[in-house]
Symmetry: C2
Amino acid sequence: MKPGQGWVRWIEVEKPSLSNNTADVQRLEKSLMDELDTSRVRIPLSVVQTLPSRLRSWEFRAKAVVFRDRNDWRVIDLISPVSEKPILGAAIDIGTTRIEMSVLNLETGLEIAKMGFDNPQSVIGPDVLTRIHYSAKPGGLRELNRLVMDAVKQNLSLLCTANGYATEDIYIVTAAGNTAMTHLFLGIESFDIIREPYIPCTNIPDTLTARSLSLDIHANALVYLFPNIGSYFGGDLIAGILFSDLDQKEEPCLMVDVGTNAEIVVGSGEFLIACAGAAGPALEGGMSKMGMTAGPGVIDRVWVDPDTREIRFHAIEGQQPVGICGSGMIDLAAALFVSGRIDIRGKFSETACGQSLIDRDGILSFVLVEAGLSGTGEPILLSQVDLNSLTSSKAAMYTILEVIVKNTAGLEFTDLKKFYVAGTFGSFINPVSAISIGMLPDIPLSAFEVLGNSSLGGAKLLLTNPDAFDRILKIRQSITYMELNVNQEFMNMFSGAKFYPHTDAARFPSVKVS
Amino acid sequence: MKPGQGWVRWIEVEKPSLSNNTADVQRLEKSLMDELDTSRVRIPLSVVQTLPSRLRSWEFRAKAVVFRDRNDWRVIDLISPVSEKPILGAAIDIGTTRIEMSVLNLETGLEIAKMGFDNPQSVIGPDVLTRIHYSAKPGGLRELNRLVMDAVKQNLSLLCTANGYATEDIYIVTAAGNTAMTHLFLGIESFDIIREPYIPCTNIPDTLTARSLSLDIHANALVYLFPNIGSYFGGDLIAGILFSDLDQKEEPCLMVDVGTNAEIVVGSGEFLIACAGAAGPALEGGMSKMGMTAGPGVIDRVWVDPDTREIRFHAIEGQQPVGICGSGMIDLAAALFVSGRIDIRGKFSETACGQSLIDRDGILSFVLVEAGLSGTGEPILLSQVDLNSLTSSKAAMYTILEVIVKNTAGLEFTDLKKFYVAGTFGSFINPVSAISIGMLPDIPLSAFEVLGNSSLGGAKLLLTNPDAFDRILKIRQSITYMELNVNQEFMNMFSGAKFYPHTDAARFPSVKVS
């Protein structure tokens, strides 16, 4: 970022004289209006109260820390032009499961600290639905709000202290979460999000004072929550679009955020189409049910040994394997398929699997790790039931991609110049494996790009780039949100996608079974 | 005022449906934007937090209490459409000497209670200058601010309680005062108001939350302070212009507010010219030094008995006379002049006064009440020194009027369709007497109109009339403020005006000496 182009501006206020006896505030406003190219500036009372002496002692120069709301530019504080006091901002991804925070220096744009912690609302329930039901009980909303706010306060304080800063050094907080998490963060009644016709209380939260949220940071600090499109399309995804620059692309690109639901946006500077939310029984649970969370001993990569044709794996930190995570599952399915161990219908081939296939409680299961080599003393298996579930998930993912790219946007997969994969889960997927099983379309590997936590990325981007403010509102306004319609046509497409890689194998020219 | 046209609006929010699943806040905003004919509405977090359940229990209808700031319409609260809970506003005139308050019902526009009390900052000093000097001492500003705010809080609470209301029933406060009083009310550094080049900290205070001023009224209440034009032209005078409708007149009118300084505005819907502030040594003290404050036994009216040609007087409440107030002084001077007891140079005529004229410490004095008839045991006198002072004051007043009306606005006094006299002092002046001594111009009596406390009147008007908001900013912006230039030309005009009624007697055809 260019110094003096972010939320901290160097300003010079015209000195008063008998020929210009306009008040200090109005001369300051003029200087800010010129600097910010706006006609609307708001200055808080506490800054006004001591403005005359401060302006004069600074010889009418100052650093102005500013932020925006939908209508106005807002001054947070004025600081001595020679001050070297840190001016910080915090970006937060309010995940249902995990909350990630970054602290940035607003003058340099550099990240100076970051941390993540589990969303303490999990004690009420692991998922959004349980929490919203709880929020409707007496005191429930308040408790959920307290849980998250206390944790944010506490961790922000820890993060600042550990890095030699004070919480008062934080002037701006930008936060993105799904619609329910955003509502609970602000203490807003959330029940109608899950009750037909599925109405959030707000689509566009106002920029708020930290004080109104009892956030104990700079006295005039402002807090911005990313807007949402609806109950099932949250600010986290808008932050992701911002982070991926999808709204500024010259050619169409796609972003998929693989979480509890697969959320997909396709578009460019000219159009944005999004599809998100539960997509009927076929997709329930989505990709997230697959496998366990990554951790020591968890198998995260699986491949076929080119020489022996045996299935090889990698366990995290090289420890004895204890289970498989999502990306490992996709790798495993791909390895089994390309080596002919599962057929195009997604069923184990008894001949190809040989002794690796066992019958366990009447269900065929592929033994990836024998009991003796496993860290748990139990074999690590992929059962036909697990595989069927993965088949459904990958078919759902492909079908949704097909619906949005082909049927809705009228594009071919090959028209996509970039294919962004966001979310923690997405970070570890091997695109080759995902293509091999027909979960992702067969486009050049160079098109795939992992975004990581794009929600946090978007929140951080807004901390360093004032232009992002208008982009967010524009993204929100221009996006076409499509409810996934699980009709007969969808089910037909879905059936085709349940094959490996697809009933129409010509769509996957790069996938070879050997 | 028309019900539903003030700051309390009846709104209906579109019900949500699967085909309109916009969030509650955005549907509320739409309804408010339509109602208020604006594109900018702000809703506080506390209203948002409980909006879903409240809107639904009210079947999507509500009373919205709104107010404005320079950029936006702001919701203060939503109230059940069937609520009969009082919705009140308070108007305050923050006078240097006295503070006047009115409480109005915002739905009917009716005044339901009022009171006045002395500005407790008087313990620091009676005048603006002393207080501003004090404000620059350590803790001084805080103390001055506390004094006025505590008194306002306490009296507002008393006023509400005495009339069966709660302070929480007050949603809006509008207040007008001179520039210094406005700054001290808001706790803003004021020192540069009195230091060359005489710069207020702010010309246009923002609409503030009552909470930020620690005013203990409705939790979301807003407080509006009238803007000023400069250090010597305060919000009280802008409130007066609003109250007099000067800015909407088809033909030129004039308003004079006689206080410590004579503040004068002449204009119409097409132009506004103002002149205010200290006008050099000749005017120091202005009209306000004349006479004592009205009270029991104070002589407030004086006239010549048409039969006996004796000087008669009226003392307030018919009690034994104890002194003369300002309006009594003007009456007395007029009576003495029209009866030939003082000459055109403003000197006592020994022949005409006869025994009523005594020598006291070498100074000629006219005995209005002999010692035996006075309530103090001392005679009530008008000395030549008093008279000279009054002559200077009346001449200054006339000269300023002449400068602004003739030299600046290019009008004749007879072009003025209305001549408004504002301020407590102004309320009691007899225009016939003021014309007789040449203090006010000789225009038809029907043109004179007493406004009373026009500052409070303007503040009340804004509580009942949202259109006033834009008028205030327009008045502020369009007014031409003229510093009174006490040059040779002024002094020549002033000299002519020191005669009774004027050196050019033809200007006062109605004044006859007999």
